[in-house]
Symmetry: C2
Subunit: 527 residues, 2 copies
């Protein structure tokens, strides 16, 4: 299907035309007992009956700001399970009053200035793929809410092929960014699962994790400098490969989730496109052996591009394996030199821990990768069929991993059973591994009670956060904090740091207008 | 010489017993025209006539706090050239009034509480190796100054061999840290030039760079969590291999240079000790070819342990080469697997840019490494003989490197000539290389006029900072900001970030008692 014919879904993941049909939903839903016979219908925007906007844009912002219902509806939520369900049920009580689409940084400033003047809150919006309530704002204490959609700022402005870096506008989505870099043979090589529908600015604001399992894969490490429009001035750091001059300015804005400023540009470190590749997949009969193999690989210094461990459930769903084994998908790549030697070492490590190397023709890596990008659409289908279906991710050190994994697969499984009244599925994969730990990513699927799905998931999510906190595993490895992770985040961040962050907020955004309620309490809230 | 017989120099680098003798100073000084016939004498502490302390420690801190002249003298300055000269000339106008040596975190808190109560400033002090005025404080606006020497907090408290991490007290110096890790086969693998005389807490507070030229070599990347005593409470982050939960708390304290709190402990990521090694050295006739070879290696993804480029002057002084060529010292190492394949690729890259691979027996790498640790002692000898001798370092992207290097070797050379009245030496090496740039490190040596050495260096330093600023090269890559780099730093950091940092300072250290004047203005100062 040609790009020009596709439209973005206002309620669910990605392209409207890629969503599963009602018949496909039924077929998919039939695989799990206890789901509905028919999918939840998708309401028409015209039938949503959105509350009238509380704000009116001034004439000076004509052509930049709109109050069209379709725009307001599609900027009401991110793409978490609870967002999708509420949209499908027409629970749209807090749409933004206006949606702004600046086409220049000057217009970003104009929107902020006007919003400040009229007492409105502003929610920076990139691809809108937040799964943590990062772009949903009721605007309590403000005269209204403006969703500031920066996706028209989508150009690569400058490329330094010598240093392999580019100055990029923050609203660009993944594919369009890569399209602009490809003619130079360069790539950002940052491929989060949301790649198609998330923006550079969103990646920076949420400290996104890329697809690559080891080594530099977090967006944090690819930043040379950032340009951020704050309510009290523009902050621009110097392009530097490294610096020891005080605490890093960029690291303060990385992860600030739109609360301190609107990221408008960044100089990003690029890489040459890989030319040499090798891959393998290895199965393990036992979890402990798989964990140990992955740990040795993570500590070997080889930094494979992929090192993704799938539990039997995850391996089955993705087609990587159906025999109940754990599957480790390995890949090495380089633009510069052959990597078969690296792959030989990696495979040998896996073998030494009892791994069975799969024949190359089984293509577990390909099977897994193609299902990877399709997963969010399947999630939407399952949601429409009445399943409670959501993911959460964390990271912790190797010494604590087995205990946490046991707690999730037993304690949380009991919670799922109690909340939903029947056993659900909890699958696990490792999205990233480090010398000192791993980032397990859990998918929960259970049958929900129509009308109570969001409450059921919220109960499960609170229990999951309790378990993570008890094991001192991070409340989020790469999904960000937003509004939905505040409970766990407030326990995790050191108290003096929380006060420091509030002080920074007050210094840069004195009226608290930027994304209120994310990371820190809204204006007037207590720590 | 046995460790127990050695004493630390109060005025110069390292061990008193390792300093060059007067005869050695004369011999060394004779290599440069225009220096003195005899070395500056080293005054006795008893002859310094330090001003009486303005503070008296309470009985509750007996055994923790001292006003002994030798302690006050050795905590007056760091080890910059200007510090050494001022100490040798007996210019000791601003010694700390008291030196505290807490033996527990509780005592750190006691000292801070008492200092806050009496209105004293506190200067956190680790190894005291600052070369940027990071530990020298007059205490204007305070009742006095306490130097808080944390080197009695020197133990490894806990080791997690599974995750390869250790909980370490921040006052430990490099060798004692490695001694405690060695029995487990582990190492922090962080070897700054100051290794023997700098502390973990100092490395963290100044974002130190290790000896290794590429890949993870900055202390920032080895931090799992930190514990920091601030005047308004203890901040402790969770041990995590990675996290996307808001801006990184650790990254706010990394580089804070003692202005936000006293780092007392950190969980540090360790590595197994390397078993496989390979090295080579390569000479280049032309600078541009050397730059291009290093750039290709830095962008190859091979991350060699060493990739140090020496200009002809640096190569000559260190004994790596005497034929006027540029020398590239390469090394690869691993605890896990053979690295000869990597070295073959590295050497081939160097050859493809016209490099001449040196026979292994020439041992340029060894020659360079042994002179590396000796350099600060030689610096002191030259200083005593009347040379203006100091280093500065920076980092910038590859595209701007040739222009900056030309400016330093021409414009700054002119400044040296103007200030000192004769041509000086300006040598260069790369301490670290990145895919997107390099960190050149410059050594300036010129004959000084007795009595005016500090003023002469200050003039040269200001000119160097002007050149760095003009090229948007960082004012410091790994030496920190302290008081001496404020001019360049104030131009470099984004203005909104400066305001954010002041806000954090006010939140965590409301009276401004911690290391006033470093990074940001002292209490009451304007931004």
């Amino acid at each position: 299907m040609a790009t020009s014919q596709r439209t973005r879904s206002w309620w669910g993941w990605g392209w409207e035309q890629e969503a599963l049909t009602d018949d496909e939903c039924r077929a998919y839903g039939a695989m799990m007992p206890g789901l509905s016979a028919n999918p939840l219908p998708v309401p028409a925007v015209a039938d949503l009956g959105l509350v009238p906007p509380r704000l009116t844009a001034p004439a000076t912002l004509a052509g930049v700001v709109t109050d069209e219902p379709a725009e307001r509806a599609s900027h009401t939520y991110g793409k978490a399970y609870r967002d999708v369900i509420r949209a499908l049920r027409g629970e749209m009580a807090t749409p933004p009053d206006l949606v702004a689409r600046p086409r220049s940084e000057a217009q970003v400033i104009d929107v902020l200035d006007w919003a400040a003047a009229v007492g409105a809150a502003v929610v920076p919006f990139g691809g809108g793929s937040s799964v943590v309530g990062g772009v949903s704002c009721g605007g309590e204490g403000f005269t209204g809410v403006v969703s500031l959609d920066v996706t028209a700022l989508d150009r690569v402005l400058e490329v330094d092929t010598t240093s392999r870096a580019a100055r990029v506008q923050a609203g660009v989505l993944g594919p369009h960014l890569e399209d602009q870099l490809r003619p130079m043979g360069l790539t950002l090589r940052h491929f989060p699962q949301s790649f198609e529908f998330s923006s550079l600015g969103g990646w920076l604001a949420t400290r996104a994790g890329g697809h690559y399992a080891t080594g530099p894969t977090h967006i944090d490490d690819f930043v040379e400098s950032m340009r951020v429009v704050t309510p009290s001035g523009v902050s621009e750091s110097w392009r530097l490969p490294g610096s020891g001059a005080g605490p890093s300015p960029d690291r303060l804005f990385l992860g600030s989730e739109g609360t301190l400023g609107v990221i408008t540009e960044a100089w990003m470190r690029l890489q040459e496109r890989p030319r040499f590749r090798a891959s393998a997949s290895v199965s393990f009969d036992h979890r402990d052996a798989a964990f140990e193999a992955v740990r040795e690989i993570a500590q070997s210094g080889l930094n494979p591009a992929n090192c993704r461990l799938l539990d039997p459930g995850e391996a089955g769903l993705s087609g990587a394996s159906s025999d109940g084994s754990w599957v480790l998908v390995l890949a090495a790549e380089s633009h510069h030199h052959e990597v078969t030697g690296d792959m030989d070492v990696l495979v040998e490590v896996a073998r030494s821990h009892g791994g069975n190397v799969r024949p190359a023709r089984e293509k577990a890596a390909d099977a897994w990768r193609s299902s990877f990008l399709r997963m969010p659409y399947l999630r939407d289908a399952m949601a429409r069929m009445g399943a409670v279906v959501e993911t959460f991710e964390t990271a912790l050190t190797w010494d604590r991993l087995p205990d946490l994994h046991r707690a999730i697969t037993t304690e949380l499984a009991e919670v799922v059973q109690t909340v939903t009244g029947q056993p659900g599925l909890i699958n696990c994969r490792f999205t990233h591994v480090y010398p000192d730990g791993a980032a397990p990513y859990y998918t929960v699927i259970a049958a929900g009670r129509p009308g109570s799905e969001v409450a059921m998931w919220d109960d499960i999510k609170v229990a999951a956060m309790e378990i993570l906190t008890a094991h001192r595993a991070t409340v989020t490895h790469h999904h960000a904090v937003g509004r939905d992770h505040r409970l766990g985040y407030d326990r995790q961040r050191p108290e003096p740091f929380a006060r420091a962050l509030v002080a920074v907020k007050n210094a840069l955004d004195p009226t608290g207008m930027l994304n209120p309620g994310v990371l820190i309490p809204s204006r007037g809230g207590e720590l």
